[in-house]
Every structure is written in structure tokens, then in C-alpha cells.
Amino acid sequence: MDADRAAATPGPLAGLKVIELATARAGSFAGTVLADLGADVVKVEGGQYASTPSSESDDDRLAFDRNKRSVVIDVEHPTGREVLLRLLAHSDVLLDEYQTDDLIRLGLDDTTLRDAVPHLVHCSVTPFGAAPISETPKVDSTSAELVVQALSGNMDLTGDAGGPPFELGIPLSDLGAGIYAVIGVLGAVVGGGTSGRHSRVEVAKMDVAVALLSYMAVGYFADGDSPTRVGTGHATIFPYNAFRARDGEVVVAPFTQRFWRNFCAATGRADLTQVDTYKDFASRIREKEVLLKLFEPILAQKTVAEWVEIFRQADVPAGPVLTVQGALELAHTVERELTPSFLLENGQYTRSAGSPFKFHYADGTSYVPTVRRPPGRGEDTVTVLSTMGHDRGEIAELIAMGAVSQKMER
């Protein structure tokens, strides 16, 4: 697909107007996903309660604020708040990361919004819920992810058996909460249609981290056994782990009997498929240590590339353990257009990890998200206010009184 054609076809969310008052990653990421799908996402920044740019690194800005517009409104300022409410009246969705008391202070609570902007879908993402009952740990945008991962059981499941638990390599409760926020918002948008009903969506990162426990949680409900960490392994399947090859690590996941036989054949140990001790998943997991000692020296003899090719031919699910760079530069990643290049304000090009969506409409057109650089803070203030019907004079007045701005000092 060439870029011009992709850009010409509107995204599935074209026409959806979103106001994002994100103060951390989860809210910003929800905005990113909506913007990637073609929504008009206006990031409102400024004031004590809106985004705190000093805590947002340049990398985060590039990763999470692409394809958005930015207006600077001081939401603490009484007039700024009026501007925000007018902006909401022109919008479909409000996305924020406020607790209930903050929403009340800002005049964005349910009661106020239901009267002032009755058609709005209002979504809040918070670490532990909008109004937690129990005392929750005090967290900020730096510490929330680590604390939620620790409290939810996610960290305890990550690491080697007997070794320390580890934080996940990506901020999964932040990103997961962002995705769930999008699911809730779009559910309400699709369901609300033109009915003009106020919808409230609440997402707690802690709840999302708990949901990630999925089958392991229900397994515990079933038999009372709490699973523990197993390195790259699996509680009920072996082999299902990384092996050291001569020059790196390779993962194998022969998760059916057929794949197990293929794995044995590919490693020159077809004889093991005849051994009663290793006949099924239950027996292999029981004999895990013995089998590990048996296969480790075999896997160590060849390179990762050699094993990947051997396992491909033998029909065994397997793959190399790639670095972030290796993953981003993998031919398949590039072929799938997942690292789009885009122009920065300074005239340089950079890349991002792109959006995974590919839509092919029934009329033969396609939509693949492209990337427009993140906006400068306040870059779109004047344009957005003009669209709302403010003339030049009024905008100048709002700027002069400090309610809005075209820039923000860092």
C-alpha cells in the first residue's frame, strides 16, 4: 500500500472528536490508539492539574502524542474552565486520569457534565479506581506502574524460579489500561450512536493488571494453587522455554503431541517419543529437570539461526530471542510497515513503533495508520478555538488573561 492512498482513506474513527486531559502514560496511550484510528484527538495541556510536561520525556512525547493536536488551557482559571466546557460541547469523548475529588474541583464531575454536556462519553483512568475505599499506596506517574505490577501479582509471576521477581519489560498495566479505556469508550460510542446519552467509563490500572492474570487466576479459583514464576518456562508445558544456543537464545513451544514429536526428531532425539516417562504433558513437566539437562547440550551446539531454520523445516513453533533493535529491524516488521518514519519540527526524520491496525473496507479501499509528529504544546490553540467560533479578538483576550496559551514553558 502506498502512503498517499493510505492517507487519503479516512480512518474508521474519522469524525470522532476526543478531548484528552491525560496526566500520565495510560491516558496518553488511549489517546494515541484513538488518534491512530483516525479520531481527532485534542490534547489539553496546562495548569496544575493538566499534563505536567516536566515529567513527560521527549521519548514519551514522540511515542504517545503522535497524530494529536495540542491546546494549552489553564483548567484552574475560571475562564479557562469555561473554554474547556465549550470545547467539550463540541466533542464526543473526554479522556482523563483524575480521581473523583479532582473531577469535582475542576467541575468535570458526573453531575456537572451530565447537565452541561449530556452527549459526552467520559472516561477516567486511575491507578486504583476513581474513589478507592481502602488506603492505597501513594503513587505518582513514575512509580504507579511498578507498584501496580507488584500488588497485582504480575511481577511475582515474572522471573526465574527461586530468583527475584521482575518488573515487566514494558509498562503493561499503563498500556493495558489505555487499551481498555479505548474499548470502553468505543463501546459507548457505538452503542450510544445518536441517542445523546451521557456515558461513564472507569478504568483502574490495578483492575487491568488483575485481568491480565486471566486463566491463571481462574486456575487458582479452581484448585487453590497459586502459580509461581518459571523463567521463560510454563507451568504445565515442557518444553516451552528459551534454550541457550551457541550465539544467543532460542525459544521453542512444542505445545501439542505432534509438535513434541517434531521437536524430538529435529534435535536428533526421536527415541524419546518412545519413552513412557515422557509420553504426555503431565509426565514431561514432571521430568522437566531431566529433560532440560538432556536437551541443553544439544541446543548449545548450533547457532540461533541454524535452530530457527531446523525448527521451521521440522514444523516446531520456535523463534529467536531478539533485542528491541532486532525486533524493530526484523524484515517482517519492516514489511508490515510497523516502524513508520515521520518528519520532526526540526526538519529531521525519526521513526516510531507504529500502530498495528490494517483496515480493508468493503469498497476496496484500505486504511493503514500513518504518523504525524506530536504537536508542540499549544500549537493548535488558535485553530481549535477558531473552529469553536472564537474570533481573533476573543482569542487574544483569552491569551492575555492567561486562560489559554499558544505555548507552554518547560
Partner: protein, 398 residues
């Protein structure tokens, strides 16, 4: 409470984890999800351990709130029924390897001609295009090939995988997003669409800020244990009875931490004046912290740090987490009566809509429980159903 997707009908050909996760999210929002299962054993995860009575906990976690019908899609009769059902649905979801839908005669090319309003959501390991399109995938393989394993664990040790099936889970949730976005587009344009989504692509997307670090610096980020990439102290430490995490990177929190540790010499140490400098001398600082933290219990430290507002928490096991008030008060775990299991507990959705926890009470279906009722709706009478059962196209008894 009226759920937003009430009236939306989904035909679900998925099995294993990622696909069922997508349709479960749609069922949570009120869509009618009709899951089509192979008549002999159904979704292979129905056999996954541990079992709960006659059902699999794994299957129960990923299929609550759905209907189940059996249908042999490889038989002409089964295919005919499936095509008929597709005509009654808004969304068709599948997670076969690319090419399988075409072999079944259910590919987008064919379907969109007959049903231009249909939304087809396809989820595979590597997508319908690209050199790895035919590669078999599983969560572990996807995690490995998207850099997730290399960035998880101790930098001095071998990497570990992310303990939860992040590839499958994220893939499923993104597919639900795609289905919803496609429904919104159809409301506007009247046109259906086909979404080609890959687990690999979703994980690459989730590298987000980590990927950006590579693009900005040209250096590949690797694992950091549980440490912050730029600031200190933040990480996971051993107390005398377990592990705890703590974060005290701001100067205010750092001073508060020093106060709790009763180690005033640290606040005067020039190496530890700023978060960046503390990061530079992190190994030394971590040694000091580890020695001191091992003197008390996780609970003692958590309580001391809470008093001064320093972010700290125990590393909970799955069991401790699920039984903690932070979870139970959220009512994300529910109890319900399953027809063959009896009283059981399950997780609901993390979404709260209009003040109500979504997904509460949803039961996973017994294999083929809805075959007769669903097929009757499209005109099969008792005689026709008996013939399908005789021919092995549907399952007779559960």
C-alpha cells in the same frame, strides 16, 4: 443496566487464547457472541489443566458470556450453516493461520461480495502479509521475536518471559478495539471491513516508549531488573521475609526515604544528591539499601514508607493479590453457578460502565449448549438437526 453492544451479533470461530479474549471483551459489552466449536472436542483449551469439575479453568476464563454451537466447518452442511449464520451477524472473528479461511471458502474476497456490511476480524501470529505470514506462533515465540523477553529480567542474567501471556492478551484486546472501530466506521459509511491483525504487530506497537528510546539513541535498550532506566532509587528489594518495590526518585521522596532508613549520612553523600547522580552510583546505593531493607519485614517497611508518602508495596503472589482488599473491594471477582461446575469464581472485566462492573455473572458455555436454538433461528427444524447430528456435523450430546 443496558449494555452498549446490545443488538450486535458476533460469530466467533476463534479458539485458544487471543481470539477468545477479543470476543469475550465484546460479550462483556453486551454483544451476542456465538462461538462455533469443532463437534468432537471443541476449543482445544477445553482440555487445559487445571480442570474444574468437567470444565477447564482456562476455557472458563476466556469464554464467559458466550453461546456455544458445534459445527464441522469442513463439511458442506456445516459450511452452509456457517454461511447462513454469517448473514445474521455484524462481526465475524477468526484466528486461523492465514489461508485457512480461504480453504474454508470464508475469505474476505468471497464474504464481502455477499455481505458488504460484514466486519471480518482476523487475528494471526504474524498477519496475512510479510515473509513470516505462515509461521506458527505461540505467546512465547511472539514475546521472543518482539523483544519482550530480552527486555525482561536481570541484565547480568538470562532473560525471562513476561509471566502473563502478554502477546495473546494484547492481541485479543486490540482485535476488540478493531471490531469496535469497524462498527463505528460502518455506522458512518455503511461499509463493512476486514481487519488483518497480527500478534507480532501488536507487541511491536507496545514497545512504544522503549522503541522510541532505540530510535532516539540508536542503542538497543535491554533489561534493567526492576530498575528505572534513568532515575534512582526505584526497584525491587528483598526485605527479611519477602520482596518489596519502592520508588523514591524525587528529591522530596529521597529525603523521606533516608528519614525512614534512619541513615542521615546518605542525604549528605554527594553521590546521591540528584536522581540522575543516584542512578550513576546505583550499584553502590542499591548495596546500602539492600543491607538496610533486609533488617525488617515487607509489612513493616510498607507501613513506614506509607507514613511519609514514599511509594512502596509488597510483591504479592497471585493468591495474595486476588485475596487482597484492593481487589475484593473492586468487585472484579464474582461468584456464579455454572451448570456443570456448580458455584464458581471468575474474573469480570476491568471496565466499569455507568457505575456497573462489566462482565459480572458471565458463564462459559458447555460445548454445543446453544447449537439447537441458534440453528433453529435460521430455519433448521428437529428433523434437519437430527440429520446434522447423524452426519457428525454437529454434536448430539454434551
Amino acid at each position: 443496566m443496558s449494555l452498549p453492544l446490545k443488538g450486535i451479533r458476533v460469530l466467533d470461530l476463534t479458539r485458544m487464547f487471543a481470539g477468545p479474549c477479543a470476543t469475550e471483551a465484546l460479550a462483556d459489552l453486551g454483544a451476542e457472541v456465538v462461538k462455533v466449536e469443532e463437534p468432537r472436542v471443541g476449543d482445544p483449551t477445553r482440555r487445559n489443566l487445571p480442570l474444574w469439575g468437567p470444565e477447564s479453568a482456562y476455557y472458563m476464563s476466556l469464554n464467559r458470556g458466550k453461546k456455544s454451537i458445534t459445527l464441522d466447518l469442513k463439511s458442506p452442511e456445516g459450511k452452509r450453516a456457517a454461511l447462513e449464520l454469517i448473514g445474521t451477524c455484524d462481526v465475524l472473528v477468526e484466528n486461523y493461520r492465514p489461508g485457512v479461511m480461504a480453504r474454508l471458502g470464508l475469505d474476505w474476497e468471497t464474504l464481502s461480495k455477499v455481505h458488504p456490511k460484514l466486519i471480518l476480524c482476523s487475528l494471526s501470529g504474524f498477519g496475512a502479509t510479510g515473509s513470516l505470514r505462515d509461521k506458527i506462533s505461540f505467546d512465547l515465540v511472539n514475546q521472543a521475536m518482539a523483544g519482550m523477553i530480552d527486555i525482561t529480567g536481570d541484565p547480568e542474567q538470562r532473560p525471562v518471559r513476561i509471566g502473563v501471556p502478554v502477546g495473546d492478551m494484547a492481541g485479543g484486546l486490540y482485535l476488540a478495539v478493531a471490531a469496535l472501530a469497524a462498527l463505528r466506521a460502518r455506522d458512518r459509511t455503511g461499509l463493512g471491513s476486514w481487519v488483518d491483525l497480527a500478534l507480532h504487530d501488536v507487541l511491536i506497537s507496545l514497545l512504544s516508549n522503549v522503541a522510541q528510546r532505540f530510535f532516539s539513541t540508536g542503542e538497543t535498550p535491554t533489561r534493567t531488573g526492576s530498575r528505572h532506566r534513568d532515575l534512582a532509587p526505584q526497584g525491587c528489594y528483598r526485605a527479611n521475609d519477602g520482596w518489596l518495590v519502592l520508588s523514591a526518585v524525587t528529591d522530596e521522596d529521597w529525603q523521606a526515604l533516608v528519614g525512614v532508613l534512619a541513615a542521615p549520612e546518605l542525604s549528605e553523600d554527594a553521590r546521591f544528591v540528584t536522581a540522575q547522580s543516584r542512578k550513576k552510583y546505583e550499584p553502590i546505593l542499591d548495596d546500602i539499601l539492600e543491607k538496610r531493607l533486609q533488617e525488617c519485614t515487607v509489612a513493616q517497611w510498607s507501613s513506614e514508607f506509607a507514613k511519609v508518602g514514599v511509594a512502596a508495596a509488597p510483591v504479592n503472589s497471585l493468591k495474595t493479590a486476588l485475596e487482597s482488599p484492593l481487589v475484593s473491594e473492586r468487585e472484579i471477582i464474582f461468584t456464579a453457578e455454572h451448570p456443570t461446575v456448580g458455584p464458581m469464581r471468575n474474573l469480570a472485566s476491568p471496565l466499569v460502565l455507568d457505575g456497573h462492573r462489566v462482565g459480572t455473572g458471565g458463564i462459559s458455555p458447555v460445548l454445543g449448549a446453544d447449537t439447537a436454538s441458534v440453528l433453529r433461528e435460521i430455519g433448521y427444524d428437529d428433523e434437519a438437526l437430527a440429520k446434522l447430528a447423524d452426519d457428525g456435523v454437529i454434536r448430539t450430546t454434551a
